[in-house]
């Protein structure tokens, strides 16, 4: 019964889908608490849970995956496409948008959601991720980060306060503190220093954000997440997590992972770090978008994900299916009449053969990229629905094992 209701959601708008989720939960006898985050179902065998985050744009059910819309669009998918799946949240990049078109324009156009015609939840990353790019990052000190504009070579100094102001002008629903993200393979000294600055900046972000928020009516309040860094060092993770939690953020992000380290290292750090985050706060694992990594993290009590992995992979021909990964450019699919995934209900799988999609993609045709991107994002949205369904049924652990096996 519940599964049927979930199936019917597929072609609702984002807000309809979010509301239906909540009505359904009420129907199942759950109560929403008065806080902005409520846990409504917990798995018995794992730490997986279903929750609801109340944002200024409306409620969103966790766990969820956010496609990356760095410049206010997901490559090859318009906001209308996102609604058909539906995708209930996307994440954009504060620093990239500050450079161009600038937060003042976005504010003038009614904020990011209105500007990009998206009625789902908009999250923004602070720009910490851009420190990974030599083209953009220059250096940082205790006061903030020096970036350079790659098109003009102009030097830009971003303080934690400035970062908060930009994200408020962009008008995202969930914002991130400015953090320093060192290479995961960085030495202990570098990562210790990154944790120190991340904590320092987070304090300033929190104070300034609180100050700015006080001027706003309650229904316009933007949520703010603190980011936990520390590389693969458990003591640094513990230290950073404890300091962040003390500041009492709306939610917590685990950053600096999924950057090339072995998967079991990632799992070890997620499991370890998660312990220090209070149960009643949402947890966001940044940069993770592979089905196996998602279900593992969900089992550790992670609630939010984002990654360019599914869209980037789609464009290069790596397809997520109910039978594992499929590399559509391989010659074996040359005359394959089957859909990408016989168990998928997306419009791509209903209407196109592997053979056609392979031909389009091998020829760098944009339609091939669009079809693969749509399918991969649809697959992940469906995976998140399945996670919730399995948590509700009490069968999440065996579902997780199945996905881990398919994708390992």
């Amino acid at each position: 019964m519940a599964f049927k209701m979930i199936k019917n959601q597929r072609f609702l708008s984002c807000s309809e889908a979010r509301l239906q989720d909540i009505q359904e939960l009420r129907f199942l006898g759950c109560q929403k608490s008065k806080g902005f985050f409520s846990i409504i179902k917990e798995d018995k065998k794992t730490k997986a849970r279903i929750g609801i985050i109340e944002t200024k744009k409306g409620p969103i059910e966790t766990p969820f995956f956010m496609p990356v819309a760095t410049k206010m669009s997901v490559k090859f998918l318009t906001s209308e496409d996102l609604k058909t799946m539906p995708v209930s949240a996307v994440i954009s990049n504060t620093f990239v948008l500050h450079l161009n078109p600038g937060e003042k324009l976005i504010k003038k156009m009614g904020g990011i959601g209105k500007f990009m015609n998206y009625n789902g939840i908009n999250a923004t990353d602070s720009g910490g991720f851009q420190m990974y790019s030599d083209k953009i990052y220059e250096k940082s000190n205790d006061k903030g980060v020096f970036f350079k504009n790659p098109s003009s070579n102009e030097r830009i100094f971003i303080t934690p306060e400035k970062d908060m102001e930009i994200q408020l002008d962009i008008n995202s629903d969930i914002a991130m503190c400015l953090d320093e993200m060192p290479s995961v393979k960085g030495d202990r000294k570098k990562i210790t220093e990154a944790v120190r600055k991340t904590v320092l900046w987070a304090e300033r972000c929190k104070i300034h954000h609180d100050k700015l928020q006080k001027k706003l009516p309650k229904e316009k309040r933007q949520l703010l997440w603190g980011i936990i860094q520390g590389g693969l060092f458990t003591d640094l993770r513990e230290k950073c997590a404890k300091k962040m939690v003390k500041m009492d953020f709306d939610g917590y992000s685990i950053g600096g992972l999924a950057l090339g380290e072995p998967k079991n290292e990632e799992y070890r750090i997620v499991k370890f770090t998660r312990k220090f985050i209070p149960k009643n706060k949402p947890v966001y694992l940044m940069g993770v978008g592979s089905p196996d990594e998602i279900v593992e993290a969900v089992s550790q009590g992670v609630d939010m994900f984002d990654s360019r992995f599914p869209t980037q992979n789609a464009r290069h021909g790596t397809i997520f299916t109910s039978e594992g990964k499929l590399r559509i450019k391989q010659l074996r699919y040359f005359e394959d009449k089957k859909p990408l995934d016989k168990n998928c209900n997306c419009f791509v799988c209903k209407n196109y053969s592997r053979s056609f999609i392979r031909y389009q993609l091998k020829n760098q045709e944009t339609v091939g990229m669009r079809l693969c991107t749509y399918h991969n994002i649809f697959y992940l949205q469906n995976l998140m629905r399945q996670c919730k369904e399995e948590i509700r049924k009490g069968t999440f652990n065996s579902f997780k094992k199945k996905i881990m096996k398919l994708y390992s």
Copy 2:
């Protein structure tokens, strides 16, 4: 009343739209003749007319514009997008498809329409246009054309007979004879020679196509157009047209124009050549996709068009609107909240501002290209509907003048 019915078509499938057109014509008291092409309304002040071409895939109302789907897809638009406008016909390229994926695969997959999940009319150009490309074209003689495969450097010899066989395997609804298309700025000697070969090959195409068609049941009959070349020389155009008409093709194409010559030269040649084509045959002006050139040609009795102009222009930011061309990348649109075209009903104009589209396109974001492409093709489909409506109302000539003025 009739206009309302046409407006309602917008979100029908291609075949529904085509059928509704015909039902509407019956409703208006018109009768379909038994031939495969029937003229159902003629303008009094110009040579414009409305007709119906019966193809093996169903009827299609003329005049119509075909977006270019060289490799079985229109850049950035899936077949689903084409259905929402609706686009009733697209044109693909025989020689390009022969090279890759090969006509045998397309045949195996059920033909081009099924393969690309398109229920509109599929036309194919023979490959003559590829002679314009130094990368592909090598030379030709009386027996056929030597092409080279740009990826393998393999030499490929295409005879008129081979070209017919490929197009039948592709299973398009409307095929073109193999023609030689010289540069429009070529000297008289070169163009005379091109006309000679085009006529010679057309004869062989016709004989071989008739032979192959005899084996097929009547409902599977592919239509074949003869192509008239002759550059800007009226005597060569006359000679070519007369020889083609003698062979009695299903329709006639005017080729070798819209290649950089002044527009009034194009208009002069269309007007002149049109005279030699029987009134009861459909006429296709190849490569024309600019609103002013389309309405001028419609007024000369041209029934079909194709061009990469509207899609290519869209990607570069030149937008068709009810007020003429708009160059969306200009700085003046930086904070413009208006839609691309306030009089347009497409989903792009209903949901996105010029400011957002400009930002996406300036940043080479694929969503910007998709939005502009959708709008430009929608605009042209709407222009064709307007042409028909104005012909019906007897006001086509003043409509034509209005469009010519807007786009000159």
